[in-house]
Every structure is written in C-alpha cells, then in structure tokens.
C-alpha cells in the first residue's frame, strides 16, 4: 500500500508548495533589500529564522530515534517505522538548513562556505556534520529498501546513530562555546540539546505517523503508540531535568544572577515564554496528558501532547536564542553602562513578517519532502512491513 495519490495528497502538496513559494518570496525580498527590513539588528543578530532553523535541525536528529531503536537496539517492533523515521530526519534537516542558509547575509556565497573551512569553527564542523548526516541516513534508507545491500543495514544504522549524537552535540556547542555571553557559555548545552532533540524529534514523528495512518486509513497498533508516548514522556522529563540543572547551577554563580533573573523573572516576553510556553505548555501539561490514565491512552490527547511539546520547543529555543541576546553583554561588572551602541540595555526584538514566513517555509520544505518521499519511496510500513520487521525474512 502506498500513500494515496488522490485529491488529499495533491491538495496537501499544493498547500505546502504555497508555503514554500511564500518563503522564497520572503527570502528574495530580504536578500534584495538587505536585513534592515527584518527585526534583527546589531544586538539581536540571530532572530526568528534561526529559531525555526535550529528547532528543525535539532528535531531532525531526534526524528531518527525510532529507526535507531529498531536497528541499533534491535527492537523489532520499531523496525517497520525505521524508514519513515529516517526520511523524517532528512526532511527536517533540509528544512532547517534551508532557512539557515537563506538568512545568511550573503547566501550567494554558499559555495564559499563549502570550500573555505576554518577547522577551529564549530560552525564549519557543523557544515560537515550536516552533510555527513544526510549522506549516512540516505545510505541507511537505501539499506532498508534494497535487499542487495541489506547486509550493511546494521552498520549504516549504527553509523547514523553515532553521527547524529555528534551532530546534536555540535549544534548545542554553537551556543555552549560562546564565552562572550552570559546566557550561553555552558557545557551543559551539548547534552541538553541531545535530549531536546530526542523529545522534539519524537513528538514530530508521532504526529506524522498518526496523521499518515489516519489519512491513509491504515491500521496502527496501539502497542507502538503506547511505547512511543511513554518514551516521549521520559524525554520531556529529561529536558526538564537539564533545564533545571542549567538554571540552578547558574543561580549558584553570582556572576550569572543578572541573566537568570532576566530570564526567570524580569524578562517580560522571555519570562512568559519560559514559564508558560516552555515549562507549562511545553513540558508539564504534555507530561500530564501522556501519563494521566484518562488521556494517556487516547490518540487524540497524545497528538495534542506532541503538538504542545513542539510549541514548547519553539518557546525554549526562542528563550535561549533571542532571550540570550536580549540580555546585554556584561563588559563592566559593577557599572551602569550607557552608549550610543545599545550597551548595557535590554534589547528588544519583534520579528518581521518575512522572517516568520521564511521560518514557516522551512517546516513546509520538511513536510513536502516527507509527503513526496513517502509516496515515491513507498516508505510507509504497511507495504514492506514483513521484510523490515523481521531481518531474517526472505
């Protein structure tokens, strides 16, 4: 059975296509006029596009979870879903990278980024990590589809698994290694980003899986869903744990009291995004929904919980990225600072429409790849479940 070619399929593609076209329009507009039309400036240098891009990139690595559990940890139950999981990982990564690249000041110089490497830069490493991830996961999918290379299936799965852990470490380190800024400069960013990736990636995977099965009217066993939602709950709790450790350890150091008070208490929209978006809506509520007997068994509520986790993920990256930049650099401890260059003041940021459109188009790119990929590659499990679920099947 394949993903239908009916009206619904093409309607969805058309919708996603429109989102992508709008994103391209936003890109050309910002690129043509320059970044002055955005909400970004010399204080908030990374804005909404980066929130979207980094969310998608982080989620991409986590989307591979299900495949990894199936392959690396030999859990047969998950193996039928491995292809979808791998394709989702590729789709999300490409969606995120598209946004990241289209927000560059000089996207026309992308080739420069591919030919000039500064190996001390974690960013340059990430370019290699992202490309490697795409290649590895593509090979991984190939080993799942083509019986002649099936003997490499385990190896490819394992390589992809290790690679994605390194990849998310790299993404987290983009922030963790920034000594300059009070909100960053913490090694905990790397492991925190890994758990975030597990959580966001699995939430998206669950939604995509349930939607696919719903639209194609295929049966989806409750056992799989129940396992996955329990796992999701563990990941959400894991992120909460890292967030707590990060803030508590920073509260311990007097040096960081300012930025902590800012995020946790005085930061206005950032404080709200943290407590309401990230903690309440994005973590506690989904945890309750996933584990409460009244809702934990219902697909509908599991879907809601997954969606909330995604919303919470955006809130978290908004707080980390924008909140971290809004708080001024501390150059002169103990002094009140003023200048013509926004020293010593809390910076504000309001995203412009083109930035948001560009960000959403990244999601559009990912979903469109997913839809087309599932149709072309026939990745949805129902068709090939036997071979994949049982590695010895012939």
């Amino acid at each position: 059975m394949e993903i239908g070619g009916g009206k619904g399929f093409y309607g969805l593609l058309a919708l996603l296509g429109a989102v992508i076209v709008a994103g391209l329009g936003a890109f050309f507009y910002m690129e043509h006029t320059g970044h002055w039309v955005t909400g970004m400036d010399n204080q908030i240098v990374w804005g909404a596009p980066h929130v979207f891009a980094i969310f998608l990139i982080v989620a991409a690595s986590g989307a591979l979870n299900v495949a990894s559990i199936g392959t690396v940890f030999g859990k047969k139950m998950y193996q039928p879903l491995a292809r979808m999981s791998a394709l989702l990982a590729i789709a999300l990564l490409i969606g995120g990278l598209t946004v990241l690249v289209l927000d560059l000041g000089r996207p026309d110089r992308l080739i420069v980024a591919m030919t000039h490497y500064n190996f001390k830069s974690i960013f340059a490493w990430n370019i290699i990590l992202y490309n490697g991830f795409l290649a590895l996961v593509a090979v991984y999918i190939w080993t799942m589809l083509d019986p002649t290379v099936k003997k490499f299936y385990k190896m490819a799965g394992f390589a992809a698994f290790v690679w994605r852990l390194i990849l998310t470490t790299g993404t987290g380190s983009i922030f963790g290694w920034l000594v300059a800024r009070q909100a960053y400069d913490a090694a905990i960013f790397a492991p925190m980003f890994i758990v975030m990736s597990f959580s966001f990636g699995l939430a998206i995977f669950l939604l995509v899986t349930m939607a696919t099965y719903n639209w194609t009217n295929r049966p989806l066993g409750d056992a799989v869903i129940r396992r996955l939602k329990n796992l999701l709950g563990v990941f959400v709790a894991g992120v909460l744990f890292f967030v707590a450790v990060y803030h508590l350890s920073n509260l311990y150091a007097t040096e960081h009291h300012g930025v902590q008070a800012f995020i946790l208490r005085d930061g206005g929209v950032f404080t709200q995004a943290f407590w309401f978006g990230q903690i309440l809506l994005g973590s506690l509520l989904p945890l309750a929904l996933l584990y409460h007997p009244a809702t934990g068994g219902s697909r509908f509520w599991i879907g809601i919980a997954s969606a909330l986790i995604i919303v919470g993920g955006f809130a978290q990256l908004f707080v980390i990225l924008i909140g971290g930049q809004a708080y001024p650099l501390v150059m002169f401890p103990g002094y009140e600072v003023a200048s013509s260059f926004h020293d010593g003041v809390i910076n504000s940021y309001s995203p412009s429409l083109p930035e948001l459109v560009l960000g959403f188009s990244g999601i559009g790119v990912a979903m469109a790849m997913m839809v087309v990929g599932m149709k072309v590659l026939r990745l949805a499990p129902a068709s090939l479940a036997d071979e994949v679920a049982d590695p010895h099947h012939k």
Partner: protein, 251 residues
C-alpha cells in the same frame, strides 16, 4: 551581485602590504621624552609577527562629552551613510561608553572598539575563515569570503562588530563595506601600513586630549610599551584571557 561592489582591498590586506613604521612619534610621559624607533619597511615585505599593534586608552584623559574619535572614525571609513537602517542596525566601529559605578558612583567615559584580541573568539568561530588576524595582531574581516552568518557577532565579547543591513554607495576605497557582510574596526590598517596612526588616535590628539596612544606593543622602546610596563593597565573582560591589543588605564 554586481551591486555589492567591493574593491579588492581585503585581499591585499590579507597578503599584507608590508608592516609599516612604528608610531613614529614624540611622546611625553610625565617629564620623560620617549622616542619610538621608527622603522619604515619596504612595501613589499610581508606583515611581521615581530610587531604587535595596540592601543592604550587613558580614561582619565577622556571626557564624557567628547566624541572626536567616533566622528573621525565615521569620516575615515565612510560610516553613517545608511539610508534605511534603524538606529540599532547602523554600523559603529567605535563608540563612547559612559560608566557609572553602582556603589561608589565613580564615572568614566571611554571609547570601545574591536579590541584586536590575540586569541580572537570571532576568528575561532568564523566558519569560512573570513575573520582573520594578521601577523601583526590586527583583526580583520575578509569581505570576499564573509557569508554574513553573524556567528562572529555572537562570539565577540565586546560587541565590536556590525552587520551591514542595506546596500551602500560611496564607500571609501580602503573600507569596501558591502551589504550582508560583517565589519568592525580595522585599526585603520590602511593608515598603519603607510606608517600613519589610526584616525581616532590622531583626532584625539588633535583635540588636545591625547587619551589614546597607538604603537607596537612588542617594541620595548615604543611609548605604548613603556607605558604599559610602567603603569597599571587592564583589559576589558580580562577574565577571558584574550590578551587584547587595546588596553585601558584608569578603570
């Protein structure tokens, strides 16, 4: 992208047109005359790591209302010609910072610009190597390979960098500013390579303050080396251990 016309200067800077003369100058520390040994090098000689250009800012000589260095810098590099950019988006290579201590009430006024770190975080993080440090310690952006990712702006502890938010016209030949690239204080490398002082230093002296001196930190006879040897001076965010080329006295 023909609208981003950028003369091939950064390249030449990268290759180095020859390190120039040490701040040839007569210099007065209290009661003492010091002469930096001026050594003009042939123009085709590469930039040498024997030289470490630096600046020393004496904040006790810098007054709150004075903006001479900033104005000179803007003029020298053709800054402030943005048509559309908002206030927070305009480029500043150097700015005056006013400090007031929260407990003692002590006030200081001082210029802050790229500190020309010896181990510059901006260079470390730059994916393409567009941010680079010359052998003589001057940190620059090669505008031909900057992709405008702004990671260096995230990494700089001194907020020294600006992003060009719009297409610009009438750039100075020695400062080929272009939309979509990041820029910062060049330590007036075009002047230094000709044996002249940076524009801000010159303006500050012309104004009578002489709060900023420029010279070769590696040359024991230079005024700047003598001064940092004799008097206590500090780096901003010395905790980061970046060994900045710009040092401050009086804070």
């Amino acid at each position: 992208m023909s609208e981003h016309k950028q003369p091939d200067l950064a390249r030449r800077e990268l290759l180095g047109r020859g390190a120039a003369i040490a701040a040839a100058g007569v210099t007065l520390a209290p009661g003492v005359m010091l002469y930096g040994v001026a050594q003009a090098k042939p123009a085709d000689e590469p930039v040498s790591s024997k030289v470490r250009w630096g600046m020393l800012v004496d904040t006790t000589k810098c007054s709150s209302g004075c903006n001479a260095c900033v104005e000179a810098c803007d003029k020298e590099h053709g800054l402030g010609n943005e048509q559309h950019s908002r206030d927070g988006q305009r480029t500043q290579y150097i700015r005056k910072v006013e400090l007031r201590h929260k407990f003692t009430g002590a006030t200081h006024s001082l210029p802050v610009m790229c500190q020309h770190c010896e181990t510059p975080p901006c260079v470390d993080v730059c994916p393409t190597g567009a941010s680079f440090k010359r052998a003589d310690g001057i940190v620059l952006v090669d505008r031909h390979i900057c992709i405008g990712c702004r990671y260096c702006m995230m990494a700089c502890p001194y907020k020294a960098r600006s992003f060009v938010h719009e297409a610009l016209t009438d750039q100075r030949p020695h400062t080929p500013r272009g939309k979509g690239c990041v820029e910062s204080c060049t330590l007036c490398v075009h002047r230094v390579d000709e044996g002249r002082e940076p524009a801000c230093v010159e303006a500050c002296a012309a104004d009578g303050s002489r709060a900023i001196i420029f010279g070769d930190l590696n040359d024991p006879n230079s005024e700047i080396a003598q001064r940092v040897k004799t008097y206590a001076s500090s780096e901003i965010r010395a905790d980061l251990g970046l060994n900045t080329g710009v040092r401050y006295q009086g804070i």
